[in-house]
Amino acid sequence: MRDAVIAVRAWVIDTFAASLAYVVASFLTFAVLMPLQNMYFPEYPSRASLLFLPHGVRVLSAWLLGWRAIFALLPGVFIVFAYLGGTDVFLSSRLLAIAIAVTTVPAVFYLLKAVGWDLFPRPDRKPCWVCIMGVGVITSFLVSGLTNLAFGSETVEYIAFLIGDISGLFFLMLGLYFAFRLADRRTG
């Protein structure tokens, strides 16, 4: 009974943390970075962000939580889609895009594990951040391609998604690194 309570508590914490991270990253992307992008690159035709931080949240959540990331991210991804699209969130294309957003990255991690390249964290080894970036690039291609199929977007959007995802993952990791350093300095 006690184990079940601990397991449920861990699920709740994972879901809250992953979804909150996704919502915060999306807010930063759409409310801060996008206006800056429009200010400095007004001639850029796409409406996609060139620094899409939520992709980083997707990749790191899937790396840490495995298949549980699907359920942990679902509330956050749904909230962001609902915020951006209103009631259109229930259109089949949007629901398909939500499913693609939450399932692609864990699927790629498990696929790589199945072919002998297990990147999931383990206490007895050092993680490979370049490999995680690699997964980020692969999944960006997949998510962009599949999402564009769902939405029927143009090629320029596809390229913008790729740039945004890859730069978003890198800068999210860099941001986390400096956040840890800052936290260490405060507690030290």
Binding site: P123, K126, W129, M173
Partner: protein, 96 residues
């Protein structure tokens, strides 16, 4: 994996990034010993030198290099000698 372990794994990921980007403050051996100590300190508050030497991350490091790095970690405040009588025990501190 516990919440603390997830945070540790995330920190380890950031530290591998730190090393590649040249942002680190510790040598690679110091970093490996610190990772190992962090790992071992989860099961026991104090970390024993013997346990550290046996850890997977540190096994390939020569004894002199290991003890030099251990001393450096104590000087930098990452590890501190345990207050108990046994000198081969260390307490893991948060990085500064």
């Amino acid at each position: 994996m516990t919440e603390i372990s997830k945070l540790t794994e995330l920190r380890k990921l950031m530290q591998s990034m730190e090393r590649t980007l040249g942002l680190e403050k510790l040598s690679s051996v110091e970093r490996d010993i610190y990772y190992a100590a962090e790992e071992l300190s989860k099961s026991d508050q104090e970390v024993r030198t013997f346990g550290l030497i046996e850890h997977t991350l540190v096994q390939s490091v020569s004894r002199p290099t290991f003890f030099r790095a251990l001393k450096s970690l104590v000087e930098k405040g990452y590890l501190s000698q345990s207050g108990s009588a046994n000198r081969g025990r260390y307490i893991v501190n948060a990085p500064r």
